[in-house]
């Protein structure tokens, strides 16, 4: 009799444990799914082009998805962070968008620091490609330094001519 009770009690205990483990796992699984759903909903992948000794390199980053302009500003911040000094110290004074989808990016003067022709060429082209490829709605990009529109960043490259090249090639 005692043996029967002990066996029944053991079986009940095993069943309760199995049920407990099952519910525990079920609960965890939901949270994993939930986490994944949140990730795909709020993080966005961007491709940054950067000047390098070989020309251009690319880097992928994930940013929390926000408004277009906010995303744009955060992407530019990340772009600047990857540059060598003194361009690395550039501050963004403003990012604007007009009705024609022209983007105005206002930089501090560090962005227009003196550099070689090659360095300037790949800096400007990397900047245009980064913005142009990640935000297809952009129709035109104007670089401002200390709130003034510039023809050239460091005296060798025409920003307007280079933008046309990038836009024509990529869009």
């Amino acid at each position: 009799m005692n043996k029967k009770f002990i066996l029944a009690g053991f079986i009940i205990l095993v069943v309760i444990t199995v049920i407990g483990i099952y519910f525990y796992l079920q609960k965890n699984k939901e949270s994993v799914y939930f986490y994944k759903a949140e990730t795909t909903q709020h993080l966005k992948n961007f491709k940054i082009y950067l000047p390098s000794s070989a020309g251009l390199t690319t880097k992928e980053i994930y940013l929390k998805s926000e408004t277009d302009l906010k995303n744009l500003e955060r992407l530019i911040e990340n772009f600047l962070r990857e540059l060598p000094s003194p361009q690395k110290d550039t501050k963004i004074l403003g990012v604007y968008r007009d009705k024609e989808n022209t983007v105005y990016v206002d930089f501090s003067k560090d962005f227009a620091s003196a550099q070689d022709a090659r360095g300037e060429y790949f800096l400007v082209i990397a900047f245009y490609k980064t913005l142009g490829e990640n935000f297809e709605w952009i129709k035109d990009i104007k670089i401002l330094v200390e709130s003034k529109e510039i023809e050239t960043v460091a005296g060798h490259v025409s920003c307007e001519a280079l933008l046309k090249e990038v836009i024509t090639v990529d869009k």
Partner: protein, 313 residues
Amino acid sequence: MIKTPRYMVKKFLIIIFLILLTPVYAQDNRKIFLKSGKHKDFYRFVFICEKSEITNSININLLNDGKIKIFFPDIFEIEYKGRILEEEDNIRGIKTLKKDKVLIIETSDIEEIKVARYDSPSRLVIDAYFKESVERQKVLKSLSILIDPGHGGKDTGFQIKENREKDIAIYIAKTVASRLTQKGIKASLTRASDEDLTLSRRMKIENSLKPSLFLSIHLCSSDNFYIYTSPGIKNPDIMINPFIRKLKEKFSEPVYTEKLPLFLLEKSVSPALMIEIPKRALSDKNYTNRVIDALVQAIIEKFALVEEKEKNE
């Protein structure tokens, strides 16, 4: 006072001496000293005369067969290297014929002569240019070069202490232009002072002048030379090789070349190149002057010959 025979003899001898001395002086007045030298592109003949009237009266003709005919106002003896030129003689292996008032220097490969007269001492200088060098000079004269000193105005370019790229670029551009002008090449600048000049404005100047060569001068942050050309240019080697050779010949720094679609190179209607000079030029004037020498030589000696070859073809 009674004149003694001895006194008379003395006086007579003095008179005789003076009479004899006069032709000696006269002879010296009729002597012209000749010096000559052979240079890379020309012979130089210098006739040193006693009086400027003589120098100014000498006429020079270049004959069709390349001989030089010199008419003197009178019959003179011509002294060359301590000897008097004979009727048939030679100077530096060149035959000379002298008859009465005429001296003919029997050169054959002379295409052009330049004559100058100077004082102290009074002399006539004839530079007789070889045929080849005259043709080369003609080619050089047909060349025009537009030099673009980078940056300017608010755009200082690279700066080390008080030395700024824009100032060095204009110094190099002005000196190169001046040296080329002396050689007969028409040289212009996009900017001649410290002024803001947009890339578009520089290009407008280039498009209107249509030079044989457009050369944009910059400095770089490294110790290398960089020569940039447009990717669209068909045969860049013809244009850049003279520069590469000259820079490699005169400097130990590496010379890199690259095709880069820079606005000034892409939009230029003429063969265009941009040269970046090592940063050392910012603080070392002697080094900058060596760069100037190399650029001038590259343009004249190499590029001009290429132009000549192209024209002949």
